[in-house]
């Protein structure tokens, strides 16, 4: 129920911010749309810990700040490689372990890897992930596992380790 209310609340906020028109008619349209979307989402049974992860709200912020710093560092690193005349790259493929208990955490980890220039996640399996790195050192950095641990802690905060083994929906 809390998830349904917070989904509806998020939609109301999104409508109000995007529309910018606050006449009764438009607001009524907005209310109708929000109710329709929430009703469809409930009927499709997609309002779960995966699509509305309210349990992580607090932790997300500190993770994003950390991730933003990593992204800036990685961008500068790749930019140097692009402009260096010798093109100092050594493409590497790595299978890495993912220690997240659920699918959501694994997806966050994979997306974080891709979002950081220099590493791209190529294939995702049960408990491991195939990563392409622009250079050997970049791959080694990722293999050290700091991002993996951080995402695991992010996912572990709040949910009592999903028993369904990530086979939801």
């Amino acid at each position: 129920m809390l998830r349904i209310v917070s989904l509806g609340g998020a939609l109301v906020v999104a409508w109000l911010l995007l529309s910018g028109h606050y006449t009764p008619l438009i607001l009524a349209f907005g209310l109708f749309s929000v109710i329709a979307v929430v009703a469809i989402a409930v009927r499709m049974d997609v309002v779960d810990h995966e699509s509305v992860p309210i349990h992580m709200t607090g932790r997300f912020l500190s993770y994003w700040i950390w991730l933003a710093r990593e992204i800036v560092k990685a961008n500068i690193d790749v930019a140097k490689r692009v402009w260096s005349p010798a093109l100092p790259i050594s493409p590497t493929l790595l299978w890495l372990k993912t220690s997240q208990p659920g699918e959501l955490g694994q997806v966050i980890y994979a997306n974080s890897i891709t979002l950081t220039p220099g590493t791209v996640s190529v294939s995702l399996q049960e408990d491991r992930i195939l990563v392409h790195a622009i250079a050997r050192e970049v791959g080694d950095d990722l293999a050290a596992g700091e991002m993996d641990q951080r995402v695991t802690r992010l996912e572990a905060s709040g949910i009592p380790a999903p028993a369904q083994g990530g086979q939801g929906a």
Binding site: A14, L17, L18, G20, I71, V72, N75, V78, A79, R81, V82, W83, L87, I89, S90, P91, T92, L93, L94, W95, L96, K97, S99, A110, N111, S112, T114, L115, T116, P117, G118, T119, V120, S121, V122, S123, L124, D127, R128, L130, H132, I134, A143, A144, G145, E146, D148, Q149
Partner: protein, 117 residues
């Protein structure tokens, strides 16, 4: 005040321009489709973020800035998803990344190693 904000916008937009053009150059310079994804990722992350930040400074505390931030948030959610879909499609189609000397790059299995941190 206006001069300071304009200067900040200039700095952010110029830095964004640098990263976006660098991404474009990388897209041309890098040798295979996998490494080109890193260059494309650069334009989608820091390049886009700096651009949006530079525009947001001009927008001030208005709905314009909120919309700009929504665009940025959306790019940050969809860009890695699209890149993963592309990388996975390339991998499934059997194309393998190349090393600098043109030989195929074999996957190293490091999934058994315990993580250190």
């Amino acid at each position: 005040m206006g001069v300071v904000l304009d200067g900040l916008s200039w700095a952010l937009l110029l830095a964004g321009s640098f990263f976006v053009i660098t991404g474009g150059v990388g897209l041309l310079r890098f040798p295979d489709v996998y490494s080109r994804m890193h260059a494309a990722g650069m334009t989608d992350t820091l390049g886009a973020a700096l651009f949006i930040a530079g525009l947001a400074v001009q927008g001030g505390f208005t709905l314009i800035t909120v919309k700009l931030l929504m665009i940025l948030l959306f790019i940050f959610f969809t860009s890695p998803t699209a890149t993963y879909a592309l990388a996975n499609a390339v991998w499934s189609s059997g194309v393998r990344p190349k090393r600098r000397d043109g030989t195929a790059c074999e996957a190293i299995d490091r999934s058994d190693e315990p993580s250190k941190s």
